[in-house]
């Protein structure tokens, strides 16, 4: 009898492992759960995170690193699958009108907010109304909802979203933290609505139970929860009774807290510690590339020297990206070949291996462009002026050791082609002033938008809010608009391939460097640790269990 049980269990484990492997091929986010066995309910998890959110109100969400907290207590109408599509969540389905100007969304009728309020069409409308209210969420109103005309309550379980122009990104919005549903009662009564907190509630598998600023935030299981989306890993309430997220900003302290067993899970594992964790028998390391745009250098074409496409091409050929990444990240970084992140459905694999390091070509292009002479320090000059380009980094926003990366790039372009990359890390005000005064030639950025198209709108459109290349081209604008309006996925992908060609091959506006990633290190006694599909950031705690 005993023996049979054990065999059955082993078979079950093998089955889970096999499932995990097959799941991995389709969806890398699910790591093997073999060590933790079958899911069990109960227990308290302590999770050390890097970033303390500046707000707990999902409408105000602006930090990709805080996304892993949002879906514990809040939910959206739709959620991303891992192939660029959407699954129903608080909605049961949606239908786009043939002209793309309206979306009819059917809602679940069995959902209640943590404060007992019923989730229905009126609640959805209240959330939209709040987002458009003056002084509430100007960035959402101006970017994600710029094409929103009106929201109608058709019946208690149906809303219709009317647009002023076809916009497929509205679906991305409905699956985004900013599109998460807050209880109408919270919207009316919360003491500090924009800051969020225990009195701003949603419908999620956990309730935010206590927030100690600077220290931790505690979530407790919502026992009434039974509306998880199809790809959440299981149905019904969460396994854990309680999750404590502790804010530990120092990477080495997070790793120490994990290895000494003070926490069971950490996110944000520095490159220097990844091998230590990988080889530890008690710990498991999981990595996943993020969605959105790759970390890239954007070249400012509005003045010399990058107004000359040859100099832009030369700069790109002068950077030995592989060597630089190896030196700075010890082989843990994934090289980017396009402005679009490699996990996006819009990514064009055709750019892999193209526009890479080629010092000879860089030098030839610079000779042709007239930067043929050298000064005493070996930098190229033209008419007595040194070939200097400036990169200004804002210290509060430097992450992933991007300041060190810039120094490595500085060395490689000097050695390879005699280009003087001048890197300064300054306070935010000074950085913004440099951008405003157009006193920069290189701008660095990555965006974590779930739909890379949203990132490109901001970065590339003539009027884009983060267009720092100064490149303004009606043809490119038309392509971006077409990408945003095209519902057919294959046609849309083709549009973005064209955009990548313009940006990378035709104009050489961008130097892609690496694909941002998230890392989780966890005790092997934990099961169900996963990344959020599409976004590629650590998922919430819904599916995690602690092996007994």
């Amino acid at each position: 009898m005993r023996r049979t049980l054990r065999t059955t269990r082993r078979l079950l484990l093998a089955g889970i492992a096999a499932f995990a492997v097959t799941a991995c091929t389709a969806a890398p986010p699910v790591p093997t759960a073999a060590d933790a066995g079958t899911p069990v309910s109960g227990g308290k998890l302590t999770w050390a995170v890097e970033t303390e959110p500046i707000t707990f109100n999902p409408h105000q969400y602006a930090q990709a690193k805080a996304r892993l907290l949002v879906w514990n207590s809040f939910e959206a109408l739709l959620t991303h699958d891992d192939e660029g599509g959407f699954l129903p969540w608080l909605a049961t389905g949606y239908e786009a009108a043939a002209d793309g100007l309206s979306y009819t969304v059917k809602l679940r009728t069995d959902v209640t907010f943590h404060d007992g309020e019923k989730f229905d069409a009126a609640a959805v409308k209240a959330n939209f109304d709040q987002l458009l209210a003056p002084n509430y969420a100007p960035a959402v109103a101006a970017v994600q909802l710029k094409n929103l005309k009106s929201v109608e309550v058709v019946d208690p379980a149906t809303v219709r979203i009317n647009l002023t122009a076809p916009d497929v990104l509205i679906l991305d919005f409905l699956a985004s933290p900013q599109g998460a549903q807050i209880s109408p009662k919270s919207l009316r009564q919360a003491a500090n609505l924009k800051a969020g907190g225990v009195d701003v509630v949603g419908t999620g598998p956990f309730t935010l139970s206590a927030y100690s600023p600077g220290q931790q935030v505690v979530y407790k299981k919502n026992p009434a929860y039974r509306w998880a989306p199809a790809n959440a890993g299981h149905t019904g309430p969460a396994y854990l009774d309680e999750v404590v997220y502790r804010f530990l900003k120092e990477p080495s302290v997070r790793v120490g807290a994990l290895t000494s067993g003070q926490v069971q899970l950490i996110e944000g594992v520095p490159a220097t510690d990844q091998e230590l964790i990988d080889t530890s028998p008690q710990l498991a390391l999981h990595k996943q590339l993020n969605s959105g745009s790759a970390y890239s250098y954007f070249l400012n074409v509005s003045h010399a020297p990058f107004d000359d496409p040859k100099v832009r091409q030369a700069f790109r050929h002068a950077i030995d990206v592989d060597a630089v990444l190896r030196a700075v990240y010890r082989g843990t970084a994934t090289r980017a070949w396009s402005i679009v992140g490699p996990t996006s459905p819009l990514y064009d694999k055709g750019f892999e291996g193209r526009h890479g390091f080629d010092a000879a070509k860089a030098n030839q292009l610079l000779d042709e462009a007239g930067w043929a002479t050298r000064d005493g320090e070996g930098f190229r000059t033209k008419d007595g002026k040194r070939l200097t380009v400036r990169l200004v980094q804002s210290a509060p926003f430097v992450r992933d050791r991007r300041d060190v990366l810039a120094q490595a790039v500085q060395a490689t372009v000097k050695a390879g082609a005699g280009i003087d990359l001048n890197v300064s890390v300054v306070d935010q005000g000074t950085a913004l002033k440099a951008l405003e005064d157009n006193q920069y030639e290189v701008f660095d950025n990555s965006r974590a938008d779930t739909d890379a198209g949203a990132a490109l709108n901001l970065l590339l459109a003539s009027t884009g809010a983060i267009n720092r290349t100064g490149y303004r081209d009606p043809a490119l604008d038309a392509l971006l608009a077409k990408g945003q309006a095209t519902g057919d996925q294959a046609a849309r992908v083709q549009v973005y391939h064209d955009i990548q060609r313009v940006v990378l091959t035709d104009q050489a506006l961008v130097v892609p460097l690496y694909a941002p990633a998230d890392q989780i290190a966890a005790s092997r006694g934990l099961g169900g640790v996963r990344f959020e599909p599409t976004a590629g950031v650590p998922a919430g705690a819904y599916n995690i269990w602690i092996a007994k």
């Binding site: 002084n135 900003k249 120490g256 000494s260 005000g429």
Partner: protein, 308 residues
Amino acid sequence: MTVVRAVARRLATAAVVLWAAATAAYLALLLAPGDTVDSIIGDGPDTPQIRAQVIAEWGLDRPDVVQYLDYLARAARGDLGRSYLLQRPVSDLIGEHLPATVTLAAAAAVTGVVLALAVALLTAGRRPLLRRAASTTELVLVSTPGFLIGIVLLNVFSFRLGWFPVSGGQDFSALVLPALTLALPVAGVLTQVLRDGLERALDEPFVVTARSRGIRERAVLARHALRHALLPAITLVGWLSGILLGGAVITEQVFGRPGLGQVTLQAVTAKDMPVVLAVVLLSAAVYVAVSTLADLAYLLVDPRLRRS
């Protein structure tokens, strides 16, 4: 009567110091590059429409002088405004974090002073080898960045030995390592000053008199020399409160502790003006209070001052 006048003068001075601190901080933030709208927008999308809303929400279209006077008027009524970044009343924010910092600073101050007294009394004027070893350790501690002290203490006593947690419940065990991190450099400086004072006092003629009366050496040190040595040390308490607040920034960051240090760091990097100003006002108030206490302590320690 003279007491009343003295107190009134103190209070008036304090008000002027607070006003000057607030004004200086206001001017510094105003002159720093980048305008307030930019700092509120951060690295997010930036369009004219968004800017207009931000300006309207915070009343940033008013002239700087008007904003400044408005701020002063509200601050005088005790209204410190709302944080640009965290969207919450600044007084709530300070109130939440102040107890943690006060606890940490008090624990560190007591530990630092006790350590300094003990080491100085044990090593002053005696045992050259011990004295030299202590002096070297003090110099090392004073010149080591607090960040490093914290990481080393954590590595040994938390990660390896598991004696203390890295952070967590605000119980006593979570306070030990941060307090020690902050206390060690303080103890280093204080010990040097105290020992120097003790040794100088020991050379004074009154010590010879005391010894000739047959008082034991320990009593000579503790009862007579220490009083003299304390005067320069008391002068340092102003410096001490500054060091404790500044050191709290690093200590709180390393140990993941709540507190004003973290609030200040975040507010300064984000140019969150209302929070920065509140922290400046608070620090100025603490300085005023501490230096008043120090003046009173002089009277207590040195009878010569009481006569005048």
